[in-house]
Symmetry: C2
Subunit: 220 residues, 2 copies
């Protein structure tokens, strides 16, 4: 089986899948899609994903190619196909909790601050995009802080990383990019620090990806 | 086990869970949360869900109460707890496809047209909210039409309803509310019609919920 990930260094959705792959110790080929150069709208990428987004995980097996899209669907597939180490707890209540925490970010927070949404806001009302992003990220993180706090261990759920952490870490990175004060989220910051100490989280970080520009050429 | 669903007749996220419960033949108590009256922001509901949203599925079992939130996490829990009839196909590629279709709506489309987003747009630029909603719904449905077409049977995936259909049907209802022309989505319309013929889809429809106002008092 060959795994090929279409990714962009700073895409938080692609980052989640890099985390899943890294936590499960799976090797993959990295294929950069330059979102700034609008490569996601080119025919080659649209054929991979009609939503014109990353990530896309291309899986080659037995002479067939499968294209998997949507971070949550890809991570659930990874979990079913490569169950160890598990990114979902064994008990059903715990699984529901971890998936809900991930969805607080996946559908509840990140979509409101994605690149297309922000560009449309900015073009209509100059400057409004950053204010908007901060509002929705703060709202999402406040709910997440409450939800994570009740039941967190060293990580969002217990003492090993789960899907919930794969969604939390990129969202906190985005919060910092938008200049949000993270003081009100002590549990999230603590979990973020625990994650940052682990090798798979270090390997999946945007700055470590092949398409990351040199530090002096990165926008804030 | 007692199931209690906090819902609002027109919430598309709550509707998805009503569909899951109905398709699995599970009885539940219906508890209305009046989103128009802002009941979701009251302390009683925030204690159930810090995101101040419906649905919340309250499960009482063995003297304990569990609160499940986020439509996707609830539906995955239902699938694991009550596997029959299955809302996910048995093969891993099919499961990834169905989850991706559901996520096209869950994180890729619906968040951009939810009530809070539209209210903020409307307050800043009067009238812009409907234009915005139509843009994002059309974008999401165009991608979904392509993704569903390749592999649809009578329903979005094969010849039995899946999670994908639980997301599709409420999204098409929203599209109609915003006056979108559905002509460009023949596969989605065909699947929608197949769903509408089934008793569980009829039972879960907003108009059939206890908190639906009488027909002459419904806003378009």
């Amino acid at each position: 089986m060959t795994l090929r990930l279409y990714s962009y260094w700073r895409s938080s959705s692609a980052w989640r899948v890099r985390l899943g792959l890294a936590l499960k110790g799976l090797a993959y080929e990295y294929r950069a899609v330059d979102l700034l150069a609008q490569e996601q709208f080119q025919a080659a990428h649209q054929a991979r994903n009609p939503m014109s987004q990353v990530p896309v995980l291309e899986v080659e097996e037995d002479g067939r190619t499968h294209l998997l899209v949507q971070s949550m669907a890809i991570l659930e597939w990874l979990e079913e196909r490569h169950p160890e180490p598990a990114l979902l707890p064994p008990d059903l209540w715990g699984r529901a909790r971890v998936r809900a925490l991930a969805e607080h970010v996946n559908s509840g927070t990140q979509p409101m601050q994605n690149a297309l949404v922000l560009r449309m806001l900015r073009e209509k009302v100059p400057g409004w995009d950053r204010e908007w992003a901060r509002f929705f990220i703060a709202r999402g993180l406040a709910a997440l802080e409450t939800a994570v706090r009740d039941g967190a261990g060293r990580f969002s759920h217990g003492d090993a990383p789960t899907l919930a952490d794969c969604y939390l870490v990129p969202q906190l990175y985005n919060a910092r990019r938008f200049g949000l004060d993270l003081e009100p989220y002590p549990t999230l910051r603590r979990v973020d620090e625990a994650c940052a100490a682990l090798a798979p989280f270090q390997a999946a970080h945007p700055d470590r990806q092949p398409d990351a520009p040199p530090p002096d050429r990165r926008t804030p």
